[in-house]
Symmetry: C2
Amino acid sequence: MRRTTGKSHCPINFGLEAFGDPWALLVVRDIVYFGKHTFKEFLASEEAVAPSVLAARLARLDADGILDRTPDPTDARRVVYNLTEAGLGLIPILLEIANWSASIDPETDAPPEWIAAVRRDETTMTDLIVRTVRNGGSIFVGADSVVASLTQPATTQ
Amino acid sequence: MRRTTGKSHCPINFGLEAFGDPWALLVVRDIVYFGKHTFKEFLASEEAVAPSVLAARLARLDADGILDRTPDPTDARRVVYNLTEAGLGLIPILLEIANWSASIDPETDAPPEWIAAVRRDETTMTDLIVRTVRNGGSIFVGADSVVASLTQPATTQ
DNA sequence: TCCATTCACTATCATCAACGTAGTGAGATC
DNA sequence: GATCTCACTACGTTGATGATAGTGAATGGA
């Protein structure tokens, strides 16, 4: 792709120039759905991105203010990537894409009950996801994940 | 872009493989927002796609069941492109992308009152847009456009 | 203090898609 | 029948991606 940036300020084009490539949203997905935060974890994703491509993508997402790149204070080798508030704002887009794909792709990996839960009350679910990810959690992975808090609401039981 | 398809059946990846390039969603945008339906009209878009790239994109969107390619019965030179039902399903994604970009890009071309109208009741607005586009209308262009039907509701007055 | 391991990248090169411009053939219009 | 319009195609250049190997700093254990 030539990725000519600045083609226009049409909001659709602006979005596509920010994340309209095969990898940018997959990084955001890895954070939001699976709680990944390091180069190594992104690299291990099912889609097998090349390290050079991943490095370039992380650098651009950081420069664009979507990701926040922070060296790990407890291990100087590690670098932790988190979503900024602008990056958290991409969550509704992720949910709509997952919605669409789940209804189109007969072999989708999307759990039907999860898609149904999102469709049931998208606003509430979006808020819950944003709050969870902002606090370092994810949708599917971890004790404080969104799906965990759905099956075992709040701190009861 | 290498556009390696079939990397995974993750719904986010599926969506990106279908429209995660700089041009596919711009074609959909041209139809939904501006009522464009022909090769020439897409080609004239602000972002200046190359004809070879546009031809390849239209062919793929047709093959993927997102666009419907029909020769114009009144003029055998012309070919009319319309969204299929799957293509209409992309409208919520477009709206979310526009939402995000409008809140990020200080120079966005998105009309603030339009963004506000969508945010006010996204479900109702989505339904209205889908119905309008399905009937050949668009959001901004034409007498039967969505914005026209908002300022002058239904057939009253 | 070594040494193996882990981490986040970088280097390299072939490949393939996008860019930009020019051109083509079928069909409409005058 | 000459011109114009339409949807493309051709083609050389550019640049990002794909795949694999390698680097240097930091950690952890012996």
